[in-house]
């Protein structure tokens, strides 16, 4: 008996019974069908030998065979769907981040936009005119098309074709100073009102950033609500409610904050202009260098002295 026998063993009655069936003779099978069996065996052996002698599948055939199996196909489909979803999700995240960054950062002024031409000048001027935060102006020329809609930072377009040479942002310091000095009118109202009317009584801090155009000498007609940054377009009712709820102390704190923001924005703008100026000088585009240098001097005289005048390549262009 096999070694793994259990409690079935050790029974006398069972042992006696087992002796009976173990004494039963095994019968011999007849040879009937044996020849047919051996013939089939030979035939099959020949077939198997031929199959083994045949060249085996190459590795890529095996891989292909594996990929043809339904479970692998199903797995591949799921993997493709999941990875596609991930890619799309990542892209939308990146786009959202880009949009945010674009809305925060000043509008990029690309150096090629400075190429002069009939339309190029306009485009160049549009690109050069980086608006102060809150300033809004719908571009009257075709250059508007080059400004991505996602860029909520409005740009100031000068209708003058020679605007690239004569910076359109000259009055900007005064405008900014004015913005720092006093709270400004409701931007919604501003776009509708002529520039002359006196500013309304002090308004909430939230509006301050968009009120820098109050002192701007530009015609209101050049501004459009569509180009205003979304965060600077609160509803009149909302503004009024906020405004009435504000105390004088809060207003003063907001003014200081606004001042800091304006300063940092100006510094970053100047820094960017300096970089553009350097790259234009490196290219040898002296016209652009002059225009940019003029803007830098207007924006920040100290930066002009420190970085523009002392730069040899820029200085060569300015001579």
């Amino acid at each position: 008996m096999p070694a793994d026998d259990d409690e079935l063993e050790g029974d006398d009655k069972l042992t006696a019974m087992r002796s009976v069936w173990l004494s039963m003779r095994d019968e011999e099978p007849s040879d009937k069908g044996l020849a047919a069996l051996m013939a089939a065996a030979r035939e099959k052996a020949g077939a198997m030998k031929d199959a083994e002698a045949a060249p085996s599948e190459s590795w890529w055939q095996k891989v292909l065979a594996v990929f043809r199996r339904p479970p692998v196909l199903a797995l591949a489909s799921v993997a493709i769907l999941v990875s596609g979803a991930l890619v799309i999700a990542n892209r939308s995240d990146t786009m959202a981040v880009d949009e945010k960054a674009a809305s925060r950062a000043p509008a990029p002024t690309s150096a090629p936009a400075l190429d002069h031409g009939a339309g190029g000048q306009q485009a160049g001027s549009a690109a050069l005119d980086v608006a102060a935060p809150g300033s809004a102006s719908p571009p009257p020329s075709s250059a508007a098309a080059t400004v991505p809609e996602a860029t909520t930072e409005p740009r100031v377009m000068s209708p003058d074709k020679n605007a690239s040479d004569a910076p359109a942002v000259k009055p900007r310091p005064a405008r900014e100073k004015a913005a720092e000095r006093r709270p400004l009118a409701d931007p919604v109202k501003k776009t509708e009102e002529p520039p002359a009317p006196p500013p309304p009584p002090p308004e909430p801090v939230a509006e301050a950033t968009v009120k820098t155009d109050a002192a701007d000498g530009r015609a209101p007609a050049t501004r459009g609500p569509a180009t205003k940054p979304p965060q600077t377009e609160p509803t009149a009712g909302g503004i009024g409610a906020t405004s009435s709820a504000m105390t004088d102390g809060e207003s003063m704190g907001a003014d200081v904050k606004d001042k800091d923001e304006a300063t940092s924005a100006r510094q970053s703008r100047v820094l960017q202009l300096v970089k553009q100026c350097e790259s234009a000088a490196a290219r040898g585009d002296c016209a652009a260098v002059k225009a940019l240098a003029a803007r830098i001097r207007t924006e920040d005289a100290s930066a002009y002295r420190a970085r523009v005048v002392k730069n040899a390549s820029i200085a060569r262009c300015l001579e």
Partner: protein
């Protein structure tokens, strides 16, 4: 040359076209498989047909055989499945008459002939014959599940694990079936225990 070789190695050699390996396998297993089938179905002619069919299936499936599988497990699984199919088919037919011959040969007796008589067998030979026939009937009275387990365990000396693999049930189920089979055989053979003691 092949007599010492394991069944599994012989099968692999046959896969490579060595007919002699299959011959050895056939000579090694033909008789035990035949007796297993015969005790299962109880009919010589059917047993020979099923034996032929079992080895035919081995030939057909030789290509797919893997070295890791135990050859006897595979072979007895085929044989057992054929037996089960056969008994299922037979159940649809009329039950055998007590007057009908036990097999097709003219020499074979009827079931009535082998039923135990009232008088004790006079000599040892007749006692043995009577015991064996009683044993045959007792085995035949087992259910298919109990019978296959009993035959593999007692006549083929298979471990419970291998029986479980052949039958396709857990090992504990096999043990349980074996216990029930032995209990039933004990009851069936109780009245012949004196004969069993007298048997060689």
């Amino acid at each position: 040359m092949f007599n010492e070789t394991a069944d599994e190695d012989l099968m692999v050699m046959y896969q490579k076209g060595e007919v002699r390996a299959f011959e050895v396998l056939l000579s090694r297993h033909r008789k035990p498989v035949y007796n297993f089938i015969l005790r299962f179905v109880g009919d010589k002619e059917t047993a020979e047909d099923l034996l032929q069919e079992a080895f035919m299936r081995v030939i057909k499936g030789a290509e797919a055989y893997k070295r890791q599988a135990k050859f006897t497990t595979w072979l007895y699984t085929i044989a057992r499945n054929l037996c089960v199919d056969q008994t299922r088919r037979r159940k649809h037919r009329k039950h055998a008459s007590l007057d009908a011959p036990m097999d097709s040969s003219d020499e074979s007796g009827t079931l009535m002939d082998v039923l135990p008589g009232n008088e004790m067998a006079s000599d040892r030979k007749s006692v043995n014959k009577q015991l064996h026939e009683t044993m045959q009937r007792a085995i035949a009275s087992l259910s298919d599940e109990q019978r296959e387990v009993f035959l593999m365990r007692e006549f083929l000396d298979m471990p419970f694990k291998q029986i479980a693999d052949v039958v396709g049930v857990p090992e504990n189920t096999v043990k349980s079936r074996m216990r029930y089979a032995l209990e039933k055989l004990r009851l069936e053979l109780d009245e012949y225990k004196e004969l069993a003691k007298a048997a060689p």
